[in-house]
């Protein structure tokens, strides 16, 4: 039995219930037993002093790559979930583009059982939409759903066959799991290396036009309307995508979407000098896109923030730009990057926390536990943040195997100091005082 845990003197923030006050929180039996002050816990418990720190529900990442099975040199469930814990994430939804891909019940079972024995936080696998993620035939979604798949996605590819995508959207409604679409028209983005724009022209790299994303977003909105499916659009990156989704939501279509920390903070100019760690799909865009994305978060068009954590080995990225794989390791820098927006006055802190907790919990739904809130009875998943802690990104110290980040040596302000998953410490910075009661 895990010893109960008292977190005291923290600045409690829970946008789900409008909580914003200093107080204590008591965790027992994997649940939040009570929130507030004045109560005395029973004897025999551990204690964390969160004085001066923010205490909120554990973050939920609806989009990451844990690479297992098949690419264990890039990341494993063990290392990826430790990276998640350092980043304040207590629930991660892992994408199915592994080898073999998560396109049937057995592979979903494999991820779940590996996560149960080796994971540092909760892992909710996402199954493919199509067999092998090949975009030709539907995968056995109902069986995967029963085995615990949280959503369906052919992430990395768009399902470019419109009829097949319609069928997937219709079929998935019987078990009420969202379909996540990686919106990019491959015919238009083929062999593209970065955002199409003047930086790509200067560098002589083939561009990925914003329209490649927007065409796909527009089609999937039409299919969501046609099918009535719960569609979630992954990592939107352009101003026009925000507008398309805004209009669709105004018309009452059931869609949600996410944005990554890097698309909110980094521009295409990061690629100058051919930094393969800034090679990301969708590509880093322009300052105008960043403004539209931030506005979209603020006015609710963009529902959640997800990392698209995409770890790769050093060798994968040490090559010609065109041969390097897409993606950056993002779990451990997500909060620090996002807090920059808070410090700059572009995003309220409460809204940021909701986009990482309550909002993704709403997309996942109630079938995987009461996540993303500090309500009594909810899962004992807690993240403790120092919003003003200044630090320098040192990729060699990452828990993730993926040290591929364009943020190496960047200075960030705001850091996760402790993460509690299922009532137990999953990560704790050395500066945090923890001990047994009555010590």
């Amino acid at each position: 039995m895990t010893r109960p845990l008292l977190i005291k003197n923290g600045h409690l923030i829970d946008p789900a219930r409008g909580l914003d006050e200093t107080g204590s929180i008591f965790l027992a039996d994997g649940r939040i037993a009570w929130v507030g002050g004045g109560k005395t816990p029973p004897t025999d418990y551990n204690i964390i002093d969160a004085g001066g720190l923010i205490v909120c529900a554990g973050f939920i990442d609806l989009h990451c790559h844990l690479r297992e099975p098949g690419y264990e040199e890039k990341e494993t469930i063990a290392t990826g979930t430790r990276a998640a814990a350092r980043g304040g994430f207590t629930t991660v939804c892992c994408m199915p583009n592994t080898d073999p891909p998560l396109d049937n019940q057995a592979t979903i079972d494999y991820v779940k059982s590996t996560a149960a024995s080796q994971g540092a936080v909760r892992v909710l696998p996402i199954g493919t939409i199509t067999k092998g993620g090949q975009g030709r035939e539907l995968a056995e979604m109902a069986e995967m759903s029963e085995a615990g798949a949280v959503a369906f996605s052919d992430d990395g590819c768009w399902v470019d066959d419109s009829r097949l995508m319609r069928q997937a959207m219709e079929y998935s409604q019987a078990f009420n799991r969202p379909v996540i679409s990686h919106c990019q028209d491959a015919a238009l983005s083929e062999d593209g290396q970065m955002n199409e724009g003047i930086t790509a022209t200067r560098l002589g790299l083939r561009g990925i036009p914003a329209a490649a994303e927007e065409i796909a977003v527009a089609r999937d909105i039409a299919l969501a309307e046609l099918s009535g499916c719960r569609l979630h659009i992954a990592h939107i990156s352009t101003a026009s995508s925000v507008e398309l989704i805004r209009r669709a939501k105004d018309r009452g279509i059931r869609i949600s979407c996410e944005v990554t920390p890097h698309h909110l903070t980094l521009t295409e100019e990061r690629v100058m000098g051919y930094d393969t760690n800034a090679k990301i799909n969708p590509p880093l865009r322009t300052a105008g896109d960043i403004n539209a994305l931030i506005n979209g978060l603020n006015d609710g068009v963009i529902d959640i923030i997800a990392t698209d954590h995409a770890p790769h080995t050093e060798n994968d990225k040490l090559c010609e730009f065109a041969l390097a794989p897409f993606g950056m390791s993002g779990l451990e820098t997500a909060l620090g990057s996002l807090m920059g927006l808070v410090h700059d006055g572009k995003l309220p802190l409460g809204l940021l926390i909701s986009k990482l907790t309550t909002a993704p919990a709403g997309i996942i739904g109630p079938d995987f536990g009461r996540l993303g809130t500090l309500k009594e009875g909810a899962a004992a998943d807690i993240t403790i943040i120092n919003p003003d802690h200044e630090w320098t990104v040192d990729a060699s110290q990452f828990a993730s195997k993926g040290r591929n980040t364009p943020l190496a040596a960047s200075h960030l302000k705001g850091r996760v100091m402790a993460t509690i998953y299922n009532g137990k410490l999953a990560y704790k910075d050395a500066s945090i005082k923890a001990g047994e009661a009555n010590d």
């Binding site: 022209t201 560098l203 730009f321």
Partner: protein
């Protein structure tokens, strides 16, 4: 009318000042975007000295004796490679030629292995040609040797641009204020990109002319990231009053990839013909980085005509590359 290069009357040895040369900051030559006008000027003047060596019966000086220069080519290129090889040998360097191939199945291993070989050979300078933009930058970060970009993907071909500048300077005393027109496949052209950098730094006005499918994205709003040029799809208008016309090689695969309906149609609307060249100034010169597709991007009469300086570009290429090897040989290893 035959165009007479201005330098055929060489100045007699005369008054010289003891001025210091502009500081040469480059350990590598990757593109011209980080060159100052003064540095380009230094390359031009040093190339003049190398031209004198090329005029001798014995075209060899001992300057780079004991230095190892490796040419590492991931794309076939007889012209550029032999130009570099001759330049290196004229300076008495030892030259090793390596051929390599890009294989996407082995990802970066290929480049990594090649770089390890270069280190083992003790290369002092590496001349690299690669089909992928940026490859020499990746290499330069990883090896001790000085890296010279002999063409990378669509990105840059700085030594070609410098020899083009040198050739223009031979015929037009100054580059400042010249109207230079680049006609052809700008989008996929490393020669065009490096020339745009070099020409604009030297004060020339650049016009690019091509069908819009061959125009790189964003030239109408360069945001300071790329030099400003004039763009027009109309070749007659582009050539009006031009001092220098540069035609680019048209790759046949541009038709297959759907950028052009046919090579025939391209030639009809964009070929540099005698009639079109008449729109330019009477003393305009014609350049082409080679190899020439005669009667596609340029009429054979123009390529071999009195205004063509295409053959001079080849000789100048050796001198300019000698100058660059000499200037780089003084850069200290870090």
């Amino acid at each position: 009318m035959r165009i007479t290069p201005k330098d055929e009357v060489r100045p007699v040895a005369g008054a010289e000042s003891q001025e210091q040369p502009p500081v040469w900051r480059h350990r590598h030559i990757l593109d011209l975007d980080d060159f100052s006008a003064a540095e380009i000027g230094l390359v031009m003047e040093t190339s003049d000295a190398m031209m004198e060596i090329l005029s001798r019966p014995i075209k060899k000086v001992p300057t780079l004796r004991g230095k190892t220069i490796v040419t590492l080519f991931y794309e076939p290129s007889t012209r550029t490679r032999s130009s570099f090889e001759m330049a290196a040998k004229n300076l008495s360097a030892d030259v090793v030629n390596l051929n390599a191939q890009v294989s996407s199945s082995v990802k970066g291993e290929c480049l990594t292995d090649a770089l390890a070989t270069l280190e083992a050979l003790g290369a002092d300078m590496v001349i690299m040609r690669h089909p992928m933009s940026g490859a020499p930058y990746v290499a330069a970060r990883r090896i001790e040797a000085s890296m010279i970009n002999a063409g990378d993907g669509w990105h840059a071909h700085p030594t070609q641009a410098l020899l083009d500048l040198y050739t223009i300077r031979q015929h037009k005393t100054s580059l400042k204020g010249l109207k230079v027109v680049i006609v052809g496949d700008i989008k996929h052209s490393r020669v065009a990109r490096s020339n745009i950098w070099g020409l604009t730094k030297m004060g020339a006005d650049v016009t690019v002319c091509c069908p819009y499918t061959l125009l790189p994205f964003g030239l109408e709003d360069t945001r300071g990231i790329f030099p400003e040029v004039t763009v027009t799809p109309d070749i007659e208008r582009a050539l009006e009053g031009a001092d220098v016309v540069m035609a680019l090689r048209l790759q046949k695969e541009r038709q297959q990839s759907g950028l052009l309906p046919s090579i025939r149609e391209y030639a009809r609307y964009y070929q540099l013909t005698e009639a079109r060249l008449a729109e330019a100034k009477a003393d305009a010169i014609v350049l082409h980085p080679g190899p020439v597709n005669e009667d596609i991007e340029i009429a054979s009469g123009v390529a071999h005509g009195p205004q063509s300086v295409i053959n001079r570009q080849v000789t100048n290429g050796v001198a300019v590359r000698m100058a660059l090897l000499y200037l780089l040989s003084g850069s200290k290893r870090l």
